[in-house]
């Protein structure tokens, strides 16, 4: 995340260590070391586990570049990530603003908690519920037909829009809460001062509010874009025929065939692409701020 220069004590790594070490040590043992083993596997011809002879190879990475399939799917997944993130901004940011600047007192506290609560249920059960809503003869279809004077057929289940709806639903709370955190920090007197100097609402939003809340937007966008690009469960179940994405082919390499080396190579390519996108996007976003 944005490595802004902290003006506090600049005493360096040594003084940072006591606070830093526990978290990173934990991450090292439980994530970085295991993933390094996976990096190692991604350069192998066979898994040593299976008892077959193995050697080092770059073939798994070459496979990605030699087959148009993976490239097509990665682009489709990046597009999915981008669309979901944009929808989350459009839906989540205004909600965060209302939560931070309009609501007051206990109701604000309560809604802050209520926004995340649905995600203390199970992801799969939530997807089943979406199927109830989106399918033909489902809740959306029935409700719209009850209200509208003409007959329409709504069958969104097993389609790209269904994947988008499911994913936006799952990730929009991240955007609401991270944007809330930075919006709430903006001093109301600053906004009042700007308004009394004659700035319009739109000008205030563009010049003051959005730039000041940028760290929250960036954090939210990263926490949404990154996992959505690799997602496989929501696309597989809600997308039906159209639900094949980069994450699902990685899953197949692990679940359907015992080709961990290729599956691992595909995931590290995904990681590299995502990191490059974040690195390119963060200075642009910061300049906008």
């Amino acid at each position: 995340m944005a490595g802004q220069v902290a003006t506090g004590s600049r005493s360096g790594l040594r003084s940072a260590l006591p606070l830093l070490l526990p978290a990173y040590l934990w991450l090292t043992v439980a994530i970085f070391l295991p993933l390094s083993a996976m990096v190692f596997f991604s350069f192998m011809t066979e898994l040593p586990l299976s008892g077959k002879a193995w050697s080092f190879t770059l073939d798994n990475y070459a496979t990605f570049f030699s087959q148009g399939l993976y490239w097509t799917l990665l682009l489709a997944s990046l597009r999915l990530g981008l669309e979901v993130t944009l929808w989350c901004v459009v839906i989540g940011y205004p909600a965060a603003y209302v939560l931070a600047k309009v609501l007051r007192g206990r109701s604000r506290e309560a809604i802050f908690l209520l926004v995340i609560l649905p995600f203390w249920s199970n992801g799969l059960v939530r997807i089943f519920s979406w199927a109830m809503v989106l399918r033909e003869g489902g809740i959306l279809d029935t409700a719209l037909n009850a209200v509208l004077p003409f007959k329409i057929n709504i069958d969104l289940m097993y389609s790209y829009p269904a994947v988008i709806i499911g994913l936006v639903h799952s990730y929009v709370p991240y955007m609401v809460l991270t944007c809330y955190l930075t919006l709430q920090a903006i001093d109301d007197s600053l906004i009042e001062a700007g308004r009394s100097l004659g700035a319009s609402r739109l000008q205030m939003l563009k010049r003051v509010i959005i730039p000041l809340s940028m760290p929250g937007l960036v954090a939210g966008a990263a926490l949404i874009f990154v996992p959505v690009v690799g997602s496989f469960m929501e696309p597989r179940i809600l997308g039906g025929r159209t639900g094949t994405f980069y994450g699902t082919v990685i899953e197949d390499q692990f679940v359907a065939v015992f080709n961990w080396p290729l599956g691992a190579a595909l995931s590290f390519i995904l990681l590299a692409v995502v990191l490059v996108i974040l690195a390119l996007a963060s200075p642009v976003l910061r300049r906008a701020a």
Partner: protein, 353 residues
């Protein structure tokens, strides 16, 4: 900041060590199987525990690959594992399972000879798997969509069912299904191009790919599909147990058959318990109760099938000699083949997007 971290950590450790000490006592049989597949029925476990004094501990897998991985990374943890016969070879080659002394399993003698003698389970005269149940991957229909059940696999391609067809999201099953539709041997697919062309023309018909029994049942309950590939045991369960309008069709072109067998992993701590458990699982008494209460595939034990009522689906239809002629049993598949099938399947799925 130090103190809260430390106390939190200590509490965590204390809670978990106290929980962990509960594990591992003497007479336990650790079983690795699909969830909801006979071996974990509470009434069956209770009956087995009462008779033998062995406590059953179930663990589950969601794919064959995962089952093999669990065996590889947990030597000695499991006493019994349920393996599809087509994977038995691989498990044996990796030295994950051991030969079974069938003289300790009285019910073994009643297993029909063609299953017991399957070359997939017996190598060099040593039994590596005790056949348990077998079944079909055939077609199932939504009874609301048909006045008379279809007899041909071609029904899947019928324009009338466009957007109301489902097949399982599984590369091997899809390719073998394509092989049957193009009149080929499922274990020796010569003309892959024909399979590919056939499956490509099926894609626009498809509503979605199913992956679990629950998917299928939900779709048929909400009347979203007309026809699709389905497992025989599951179709039977959907009809008898869940009262859904589902019936199984074994098309004239044939169907894919599979055989599930029990094995004993290398390093099993309770081999005697494992043998007792396998014997119990292939016992007619357990089988009849399983079929009646839950719905099940066909037992490999001839006596167990004979104990079913005469009109039972597993006896009448599945035991029909005419059906036996049409079905093809899945043989082991090499890793290279499996990957080639997956590549084909992924390509088909991407092109349909």
């Amino acid at each position: 900041m130090r103190m809260p971290k430390l106390t939190a950590f200590l509490t965590a450790t204390a809670v978990f060590t106290s929980v962990l000490t509960l594990a591992a006592t003497a007479a336990e049989v650790h079983v690795l199987n699909w969830k909801g597949y006979g071996a974990d029925e509470p009434w069956a476990i209770a009956a087995f525990e009462k008779v033998t004094g062995n406590k059953v501990v179930n663990d589950f897998f969601n794919s064959e690959q995962e089952m093999l991985t669990k065996l590889r990374t947990n030597p000695g943890l499991y006493d019994v594992v349920m393996i599809n016969a087509a994977f038995n070879d691989q498990a044996m080659a990796e030295k994950l399972i051991q030969p079974i002394d069938v003289s300790k399993i009285p019910n073994y003698a009643d297993i029909s000879p063609d299953k017991a003698g399957s070359p997939m389970l017996v190598r060099d005269g040593k039994v590596h798997g005790v056949p348990w149940v077998w079944g079909l991957t055939a077609l199932a229909i939504n009874e609301k969509a048909f006045e008379t059940p279809p007899t041909s696999i071609a029904e899947m391609w019928n324009e009338a069912h466009k957007g109301r067809v489902t097949i399982r999201d599984d590369a091997v099953e899809a390719v073998q299904f394509g092989a049957i539709a193009t009149g080929q041997n499922i274990n020796d697919v010569r003309d892959m191009e024909a399979v590919k062309a056939k499956l490509t023309s099926l894609m626009p018909q498809i509503k979605t790919f199913w992956s679990s029994e629950n998917d299928w049942n939900q779709m048929v309950a909400s009347n979203q599909i007309d026809i699709g590939t389905y497992w025989s045991g599951s179709a039977d369960r959907a009809k008898t147990h869940f009262k859904l309008p589902v019936s199984l069709v074994i098309p004239g072109e044939g169907a894919v058959a599979w055989l599930d067998a029990f094995s004993i992993p290398v390093g099993a701590k309770n081999v005697a318990g494992a043998e007792a458990f396998i014997n119990y699982m292939i016992d007619p008494k357990f089988y009849v109760e399983w079929v009646t209460k839950v719905g099940a595939p066909v037992s490999a034990n001839a006596k167990a099938v004979a104990a079913l009522p005469e009109d039972a689906f597993n006896r009448k239809v599945m035991g029909d000699p005419d059906v036996a002629k049409r079905i093809q049993f899945q043989a082991p598949i090499s890793d290279a083949q499996r990957e080639a099938y997956l590549a084909l399947w992924q390509e088909l799925k991407v092109n349909v997007k």
